[in-house]
Amino acid sequence: MQRFIIKQKRTITWISAALLVIAFTSHYAFHNELVAKWALITASVIGALPIALQAFQALRIKVVSIDVLVTIAVIGALLIGNYEESAIVTFLFLFGDFLEQRTLNKTRSAIRELTEMAPESALKLMADGEFVEVGIEDVDVGDVLMVKTGAKVPVDGTVLSGEAHINEASITGEPVPAGKETGSKVFAGTTLDNGTIRIQADRVGEDTTFGKIIELVEEAQDAKSEAERFIDRFSKWYTPAVLALGAIVWLISRNIELAITILVLGCPGALVIGVPVSNVAGIGNGARHGVLLKGSEVIHDFSRVDTVVFDKTGTLTQGRPQVADTVVYADDAQAVKGYLASVEKQSDHPLARAIVEYLGETPAHEVSKTDVIKGGGIVALVAGHRVAVGNVALMEKENVPLGEKALRDIDAFQKNGNSIVLTALDGSLVALMGIRDQIRTGVKEDLAKLKKLGVKHLVVLSGDNQGTVDLVARELGLTEAHGHMLPEDKAAYIEKLQAQGRMVAFVGDGINDSPSLARAQIGIAMGSGTDVAIETSDVVLMNSDFSRLPHALGLARATARNMLQNILIAVGVVLVLLASVFFSSWMNMSIGMLVHEGSILVVILNGMRLLRYKLKT
């Protein structure tokens, strides 16, 4: 019965609206007071039923909820024969509840979209060798599954056979589908664009990367900040306090109408819902833009950050050496490249790999003899030519004259932070390559945006030598640069910054940087999706996408502002309402309820603005 009534709350809302219309038309148009009176009484009683039931349930577990205030107020109004007020108040309360649910659903939509991407079924290989569609809960680690075009990958697993392109945007934020073949890892929640693969389940359900992300987001939106906990404690005492105030006013003034009005006006709805709404909308916006913000405490601290400390390798830079500059001294560049590639393919030195990657497809030559010269490079016989690849020392050893122009080039390359690779063909210099860990594209613009957002100090800390770090700092316009730092040195340096009263965020790739991530008020992990760093940090930039950092900071600022606005609106409205009860004549129960419900909608709508937040450029 109880549940039936509560489930019919929506229907009751509309019936009570209809009854109100009947009552007012018969009162004003037909002057039929009897019909009006009974329509109002019916509206009050059926409208109060679900409210009273919820109030009763709350009281049973010793919670004085808003429902209790409203129920007492409505019963009071009925007793003193003010049917109009009782009917309007119940209707407004129910209608407000309806609107609240509608708008709340909107706010939560961003996160629900994410959870709805969770796979629900899988094609599982049964004992008889057939693939049968089963619910996701019936899939265990080790099961063999088939995934076809258009289907979702149901688990984290390894491809056993077949080929496919998979859209991994849900995990990595990367819109370009990734190619998968035997032995590749696939992730739950990603969608197969084309192809068919058989996979073996490595992790299922909540243990998958996708499951973890959802769990983190879900917990983040309910993780409470200090301010929220305060409001929680506050509202626990606030509602009984309003009841007491009503009782006292009644005892003193003997004016039951005034006492009841106080109960209605004192409802703390906007206060209770204002902060969570901003929080959910902000986190939802982040989830859509590849930024995971872990809860409102994080948002609060992040919004106050004035110093951002970066790890260099893998954060500001690509994290692997690449050929940045080249000069070819020979006339036939194509031939030189062919010889160079053939030699470098023999080596697994990082610089050699960078060169092979840079050269791409080249005509292959037969390499007959290779000598690796320690601390120098490599010398080989390629199609009858003697090819030497290495540093300046190797060239001297090989008696290769460098010439004035080459020496100038080498000097310039080194100043740009390059490692030098020289190539000599049959004793004469043919090519110079500068290899360095290049800065990620767009980082400079992103840092400029951070500065615009009011971040005063941009610091880079690196294990690399001071010269290289200084170069990066100069190129990017950072305010401080420190090299030769071990992970614990970085953490200590952050502590020093904090001692100066700074709010520090640390951005790192999360493996060797975990002490700093933990030390900084806000640890921002460049999460490639599979990282454990997702769990230890406060903010995760999905797919290690640095360009999301300015959006993340801007969003945190906007969300924190939004929360403050909501608190001010909520408190302001209650104060104004209560003051006007005592000091004005126009205030009554219905207006109070209207303003009260209105303020709830205002804070929800205000929070929803965050869903559309975009960083202004």
């Binding site: 549940r3 577990i61 709340l104 659903n105 879900e218 309910d222």
Partner: protein
Amino acid sequence: MKKATLQLETLTCPSCATKIEKAVGSLPGVNKDSLSVLFNASKVKVDFDESKLTVEDIQKSITTLGYEVLKTQVKDR
């Protein structure tokens, strides 16, 4: 110890969450520290001692408050 995750109908008022928290938290055999009512996700997560109560008892304590339980998952701790 088992860990239960219950998906509820959409919760609309924060006081609903408080109510559910109190109701589930007062059941014997429930680990109060592990109890979390996720208001926005409309989920309840809790560890419980299966020798003292069943997951149905937890469901019942929520449904009697007037909230529907849509899905229940139980896992070993």
